[in-house]
């Protein structure tokens, strides 16, 4: 273990390079996100993820946001364990009939002010499952949605873009 710690210390962090205007979209976005988040929310935005019946593809990419290469927490954005600690609900999936009540209760448990982000094509309108009677079809059929992030699933860069759009519209 000591060897690995030492090597990591010597080699420096894996987290991708500090933002510079001419580096790719991810880095550029990350810089804008940092400034906007700080200005509006004083460095901190807590996100509660709710899977309302997704195929788990969106969850995999949301997980990736937390890995050392994207390192979401450096921007003051973090996922929290309870809706009671959250500012934002990040909802994935086509909202199955079986998850409807749990989603509504999670929303009610989240203190105001709060925002809802519908993540992925399913969360927009049911996506490929939209004809099924087993789903409600789109988060906006259940909760007021402030932002949709498209993709099947949205990759980490698209998720960062979405978070940026959110913090820029939060009043």
């Amino acid at each position: 273990m000591r060897r690995i710690f030492l090597r990591n210390l010597v080699n420096g962090p894996l987290t991708e390079a500090a933002p510079a205007p001419d580096e790719g979209a991810l880095v550029e976005l990350a810089e804008r996100l940092q400034q906007a988040a700080r200005a509006r929310l004083g460095r901190s935005l807590s996100i509660r993820e709710v899977d309302a019946g997704s195929c788990n593809g969106c969850e995999l990419e949301i997980h990736a946001l937390n890995n050392v290469l994207y390192d979401l927490e450096r921007f003051g954005l973090r996922f929290v364990a309870s809706p009671r600690h959250a500012d934002v609900l990040f909802v994935t999936g086509p909202v199955t009939q079986n998850m409807r009540e749990a989603l509504e209760r999670t929303y009610r448990a989240t203190p105001d002010p709060k925002w809802v982000v519908a993540v992925g094509d399913c969360a927009r309108d049911g996506g490929v499952f939209s004809d099924s009677p087993a789903i409600v079809g789109g988060v906006s059929n259940v909760l007021p949605v402030d932002l949709h992030i498209s993709g099947c699933p949205p990759n980490p860069t698209a998720l960062l873009k979405g978070l940026l759009a959110l913090v820029e519209t939060v009043k």
Partner: protein, 466 residues
């Protein structure tokens, strides 16, 4: 794959149940459509028997009464197809959540219940766990699933082939390649359609990249549930490199919609082979020190060794697939038997251990990482040239496939109509036979060890709930 497909009467249906009870065959799946029940059995020889039972008055004799692994499948069949196994030991609804749910009782002194979910603390899928505990010790865990039920079987009925493939790729996102492959191979089996050699090999490349990404991510995540964050952070970085290589090669990080009936949708990009070569070198350099770290950290091993033991007898009875079965002595890998191309000409080992604890499941996955690296190397060096897909004939027929996803064997059944549309399809995730075993493995462990046990099984909620 050798298979028979037979219309049976209720006595033959029961006789199949007796064979399952005696351990002479494993249950691959049991499902229904209005008026007809279907069952698939795997013989020890690797041959598959498909049984179809027309149900008078929508009733049939229960298999679960003879063979417990059929219990949830029969409950789901009742919810989805209205077929009632009337002498079944458990007739509560499963995928359809309407009435209040009656959890099984646990009687004794000083017992208390803990209800968890369907919304969990982490970024994970929805499901409900009802623990009955005595102090810290779990006396009974009962799972309640179905929260991610999207009605995929229903959407498949009457769908065009392309839509069927899109849906199959979204049964369980972490296994999108494996599900698309299982569905495509079942459909090709139904139509008698050949697949070009290059497509067969590219499918295997995508499947092994998917296995690598999941194993690497999950090995770290299991350690994270023992609060050993260094492994989690390091393994997640390796997983990310696999996803980026997948994106560079196939244009999608999870490789969704790459496998299509008839072949593959996308060719390996021009620099794809080189990119894969450097990925293998990178993983061969970076992964072994992490394995050593896992092995040499006593406080971590203390959490994984002898925790959540699954007995070989239960693994065999339930036909547990993947690392869950192979960590508990079950020698089964669908790539080997019944087997499918191109694995018949590739060299790889199927690691098996007997101890059945969290550590064994981690260890199987560690060794499978190395096997997948070997396979990817062989695939890249022998990738045949040629077309990516062949046109599909239009005809009626029934087909099946058994594909080894990272989590275990995925069974697919498709019945095509003469109009070129899917009449019915059924996709069975390995989790159907793993979720019930988690209930058994956690018994007698402390509540605080549930997350690490659960992650070491890593069953799919969406794949199970369909």
């Amino acid at each position: 794959m050798k298979r028979t497909s037979t219309e049976v009467d209720t006595s033959a249906w029961r006789a199949a149940g007796e064979r399952l009870r005696a351990g002479d065959a494993s249950l691959l799946s049991l499902w229904g459509e209005p008026g007809t029940a279907h069952m698939a059995l795997l013989d020890p020889s690797g041959a598959v028997s498909l049984l179809h039972l027309r149900c008078a008055d929508d009733r049939l004799p229960s298999i679960a009464r003879l063979h417990a692994p059929a219990t949830r499948l029969e409950r789901a069949m009742r919810d989805l197809a209205g077929l009632d196994a009337e002498d079944a030991p458990d007739r509560r609804p499963w995928l359809r959540h309407e009435a209040p749910y009656a959890f099984l009782p646990a009687a004794g002194e000083s017992l208390h219940q803990i209800a968890v979910g369907p919304v969990h603390a982490g970024i994970i899928e929805p499901g409900h766990f009802r623990f009955t505990a005595n102090g810290e010790t779990v006396v009974r865990l009962e799972e309640r699933l179905g929260y991610a039920h999207k009605g995929i079987d229903g959407l498949m009925a009457g769908a065009p082939i392309a839509r069927g493939a899109t849906l199959a790729g979204r049964v369980s996102g972490d296994s999108t390649v494996a599900f698309a492959l299982a569905f495509s191979r079942a459909l090709e089996d139904a139509l008698g359609a050949p697949v070009p050699p290059r497509a067969v090999w590219l499918r295997a490349l995508a499947a092994e990249l998917e296995r690598l990404a999941n194993h690497l991510g999950d090995i770290g995540a299991i350690c994270n549930d023992a609060s050993f964050v260094l492994m989690h952070a390091s393994c997640a970085a390796l997983r990310e490199q696999v996803l980026r290589a997948a994106h560079a090669c196939f244009g999608h990080r999870l490789m969704m919609d790459c496998v299509i009936p008839g072949g593959v949708a996308r060719d390996l990009t021009a620099d794809g082979a080189q990119r894969i070569g450097s990925l293998i070198a990178f993983l061969r350099r970076e992964f072994p020190p992490l394995v050593e770290l896992y092995e040499n950290t006593a406080s971590l091993k203390d959490r994984t060794v002898s925790t959540g033991i699954l007995s070989p007898a239960l693994a065999k009875q339930f036909g547990a697939g993947g690392y869950v079965g192979r960590a508990s002595g079950r020698h089964f890998d669908a790539r080997r038997s019944p087997g499918y191309a191109p694995y018949d000409v590739l060299q790889f080992d199927v690691p098996v251990v007997q101890s059945g604890d969290v550590n064994a499941r981690v260890w199987i996955r560690v060794q499978e990482v190395e096997q997948s690296l070997r396979l990817v190397e062989q695939i890249i060096s022998a990738l045949p040239a040629g077309p990516l897909a062949a046109p599909l004939p239009s005809k009626a027929g029934e087909g099946i496939a058994l594909v080894e996803g990272f989590r275990g064997d995925i069974f697919a059944w498709v019945r095509m109509g003469a109009d070129g549309r899917i009449e019915r399809s059924h996709l069975r995730d390995p989790s159907w036979f793993q979720w019930p075993l988690l209930e058994a493995a956690i018994e007698g462990n402390i509540v605080a060890d549930f997350p690490i046990c659960n992650k070491s099984f890593n069953c799919s909620y969406s794949g199970h709930d369909v």
